[in-house]
């Protein structure tokens, strides 16, 4: 087990800065995710760790060893490619044993290691199969086995689930998580899927335009997004903009009026002063929806009309147009036995001050 550090890593392609002074540290054995939209530099970062790109600036460390000038084939990073890159002219055994053979391991040892790793990824008995005879999920497992069997210092996963269908994706991400826990290999995982990132990671760096916007545990990222981009990219968020009008005596609650005139009490953590213009965020599941006129309009309470209601079984997603003219998204989880409002129904929305957070621009 070894930790991995990137210090001020920078890479440009022609005049586009793909990765801009990225500094992150993955502790030994940690599952570290780079999360961001396409083009944010996460894959470029990963490929620099693998050695396929040379950084323009900055350092890559595995433990205390500077890796910058180590060629890719000597870095001992196991990489799972987005397209899996299973060698089409080799069967499963040949694919998985490839790295071991290159390392000149004896035949018995190769056999033992391959057997062990195929068991780990639940592919025992498939040694003779060729890639075309494997399903997408199975190819994924072979790719993972091939990367793991060389006992890499760092395991690199480049959007490994993006080519799988939705159900398999959910299954495989728990598999990857289980295997990583078992192997305790330091892992860098690249994805644009925030749900996937929240599910598998110990730590997440949210990236945008080549920069790291926030690094933290999944819970920190989701519950206390540090800025607008993170709040917007991770999960669904209702944003309001308005002017802070007062701060409570204990300094924990602030009051503001949105630009549309909706009065809101929000959690205050020192960001912004009275009179300043701020953005606040509210997660859809934090608001409650009830039939209209059950509660009067007022602080953190508004009336509106259901514009769209999507029933998804475990959750009902509403889009409500409020009397102030904003469209708010509200999720009602576990709707069984509760009233589902149809489109056009007048409703009341209510949410507690602790669920609304001021977001740095």
């Amino acid at each position: 087990m070894v930790n991995m550090r990137l210090v001020n890593l920078t890479k440009s392609f022609e005049d586009i800065v793909a990765v801009d002074h990225v500094s992150i540290e993955a502790a030994a054995g940690e599952f570290f995710t780079l999360l961001g939209p396409s083009g944010c530099g996460k894959t470029t970062t990963l490929r620099m760790v693998a050695g396929f790109y040379d950084p323009d600036e900055g350092e890559i460390y595995f433990g205390n060893k500077l890796m910058n000038n180590v060629p890719p084939n000597e870095r001992n990073t196991g990489m799972v490619f987005q397209s899996y890159a299973i060698f089409p002219h080799m069967n499963v055994f040949q694919n998985v044993s490839y790295g071991l053979k290159i390392r000149k391991m004896s035949n018995e040892d190769v056999k033992r290691e391959v057997e062990w790793v195929l068991k780990l990824v639940k592919m025992e008995g498939m040694e003779e199969r060729y890639p075309t005879q494997l399903s997408g999920g199975q190819q994924q497992r072979v790719a993972l086995a091939r990367a793991l069997v060389i006992k890499p210092d760092v395991l690199l996963l480049d959007e490994p689930l993006s080519n799988l269908d939705a159900k398999l994706r959910v299954e495989m991400r728990t598999e990857i998580r289980r295997i990583q826990r078992e192997m305790k290999t330091t892992t860098i995982y690249v994805t644009h899927d925030q749900e996937e990132a929240l599910c598998v990671s110990d730590k997440i760096s949210v990236m945008n335009r080549g920069r790291v916007e926030q690094t933290g545990s999944p819970r920190e990222i989701y519950e206390t997004p540090r800025n607008l981009f993170v709040a917007d990219f991770v999960g669904v968020t209702n944003f309001f903009r308005g002017k802070l009008s007062s701060i409570s005596k204990d300094g924990k609650i602030a009051t503001l009026e949105t630009d549309q005139g909706f009065p809101i009490e929000v959690q205050y953590d020192g960001e912004g002063m009275v009179g300043s213009e701020v953005s606040v965020a509210l997660r859809p599941e934090a608001a409650d929806i009830t039939s209209c006129h059950a509660v009067p309009k007022g602080m953190n309470t508004t009336h509106g009309r259901v514009k769209l209601a999507s029933y998804l079984g475990d959750v009902v997603r509403y889009e409500v147009e409020t009397d102030y003219g904003e469209v708010m998204r509200v999720d009602v989880h576990n709707p069984t036995g509760r009233q589902v409002f149809s489109e056009g129904t007048p409703v009341s929305l209510i949410f507690p001050p602790e669920s609304v957070k001021i977001i740095r621009e």
């Binding site: 693998a50 890719p72 490619f81 890159a85 002219h89 490839y98 290159i102 075309t132």
Partner: protein, 519 residues
């Protein structure tokens, strides 16, 4: 069978058989030694001279080997530039570059290595870069990676190129004929000489043909089987990334690219030779021509204009035939399912594997003493067979190029037309034909220029000099004492036509040179 025994017990014929196999196999080896590394260099590295090398390295293909050999003679012949240089400065014995089967292999190597290069480059470009990266990530060095991943994955392309080299070098008649009697101990010239010497039913001539076809078919089937087993879907389903391209600079660049630059230059000497010679007064026992003139062009334009006009006539007619047949066959292959579909598919590409000598001799014996109704001379004394043989030999070009454009036309376009009330013929004329026109014209042009440089069937089927096309004229001229310059002028016309056509096809129809020479 007794003829077969006699054939196999006659040293001349067994030697020819063995020599032909040697020429085929050694040419594959020599062209591979140049083509494979050059393809890897050009696809996996980035360097200054790359674009120029890419452009120049496909030029040998526009030069038909029988014309190229004439050009090479000026530099590599017994009294050519190089031997002259060796004699003047070192008093060395002349080196027989262009003699015997070694000479044939020398010419084929310089002429055919682009086939390997183009096929391998195409294969290399299609390999998912992630596969090579995966190998590198798992610890493989560059050589190891090439051995275990890159080369196995480009094998289908390589095999296709190697097959073409084998077939072309095996069936090449022009080169040994131009080199002369020292290169006659090969199947193609043996068949040709036996048949043209008098008896077209000469059993040995025909047996030589049988062996050539057999060798071609064995090679074709072997490669088909092998490649068929190994058609990998190498293009990834996801977003293709750019291949690993490494920069090559300074001393390494010079060390790696210099041998290839020398080779590419050598492969362009045929072009330089015939161009210089076509403007030369005399070029003999001197490094370069002794004087320059336009007389050779005057000669071929005004003294023997029939060579040019005949070429235009025969090649246009055969290309037109190819366009009609090619469109029909391609339409059947792409749009219809019928018994014999696969056989037609194979049959349509077969002419690539049938040596021109064999086709020519086959026509001579098949149509021997056959008279068309109302004609007083036998069919073999007319030019009909020449045109027919050109058409058959070049048919694969139009079939293939129509096939490709038809596959781009979605069936739903034809269905929409029928849905709107057009019948089958109207749909074909108004929708399908206009949409496949590009492929049709491109294929037709290629069929045309390839007929221009066809030598083997021409020599066999042309009844007399006044009916001879350009290729016949070249052969005719080099057998007269002062005709080399005129032969070269005709050669310049021929390769200009090929070059212009390929540029047009490239520019207008967006076909890559590589796609035109792939099996």
């Amino acid at each position: 069978m007794t003829y077969m025994q006699l054939f196999l017990s006659t040293p001349l014929f067994t030697e020819s058989l063995v020599n032909s196999m040697i020429v085929g196999i050694v040419s594959v080896i020599t062209t591979s030694l140049i083509g494979v590394p050059l393809a890897y260099l050009l696809t996996r590295y980035e360097f200054k001279t790359k674009t120029v090398m890419e452009m120049l390295s496909s030029l040998p293909l526009i030069m038909p080997p029988f014309i190229g050999t004439i050009g090479l003679t000026y530099f590599f012949g017994r009294s050519g530039t190089i031997n002259l240089f060796l004699l003047n400065f070192f008093h060395a014995e002349p080196i027989p570059f262009l003699e015997g089967i070694g000479g044939v292999i020398f010419v084929e190597t310089l002429h055919l290595y682009p086939l390997i290069l183009l096929n391998c480059s195409a294969s290399l470009a299609n390999i998912d870069p992630a596969l090579e990266e995966a190998a590198e990530n798992l610890g493989a060095s560059e050589w190891n990676r090439f051995k275990t991943v890159t080369f196995p994955l480009m094998l289908p392309g390589y095999a296709a190129g190697a097959l073409l080299v084998f077939l072309w070098s095996l069936s090449d008649l022009g080169t040994p004929l131009v080199i002369g009697s020292s290169a006659y101990r090969l199947l193609a010239p043996q068949a040709f000489l036996r048949i043209t010497a008098g008896d077209m039913f000469d059993p040995f001539g025909n047996l030589a043909c049988v062996f050539m076809v057999a060798l071609s078919l064995i090679a074709l089937l072997a490669v088909r089987k092998y490649v068929g087993l190994r058609q990998y879907a190498v293009v990834p389903s996801g977003v293709p990334q750019s291949a690993i391209v490494k920069r090559l600079e300074g001393k390494r660049l010079i060390a790696i690219s210099l041998p290839f630059i020398v080779l590419i230059f050598a492969s362009l000497l045929p072009h330089i030779g015939i161009i210089l010679s076509s403007f030369a007064t005399v070029w003999s026992f001197s490094y370069l021509p002794q004087g320059y003139t336009l007389n050779n062009y005057y000669e071929i334009t005004f003294r023997t204009p029939q060579f040019l006009t005949n070429t235009l006539l025969y090649c246009s007619l055969s290309a037109a035939l190819d366009i009609v047949l090619g469109a029909a066959i391609a339409y059947m292959l792409v749009r219809k399912r019928f018994p014999g579909h696969d056989s037609l598919d194979t049959l349509a590409t077969m002419p690539f594997a049938i040596p021109g000598v064999v086709l020519g001799i086959g026509y001579l014996s098949l149509f021997h003493n056959v008279y068309l109704p109302g004609m007083t001379i036998p069919l073999t004394r007319t030019i009909i067979l020449v045109i027919l043989s050109y058409a058959v030999r070049r048919l694969p070009y139009t079939v293939r190029s129509c096939h490709a454009s038809l596959q781009q036309i979605h069936v739903s376009l034809e269905e929409a037309s029928k849905n709107l009330g057009a019948n089958g013929l109207q749909t074909f004329m108004r929708i399908t034909l206009p949409l496949m026109m590009g492929g049709l014209v491109a294929g037709g042009l290629l069929a045309f220029v390839n007929a221009v440089v066809e030598i083997s069937t021409t020599l066999l089927l042309i009844p007399s000099t006044e009916y001879g096309p350009l290729s016949f004229g070249i052969y005719d001229y080099i057998h007269t004492p002062v005709g080399y310059g005129s032969a070269c002028a005709l050669g310049v016309i021929a390769i200009s036509m090929v070059a212009i056509t390929i540029v047009v096809v490239n520019r207008v129809f967006g076909k890559r040179m590589g796609t035109l020479f792939r099996a």
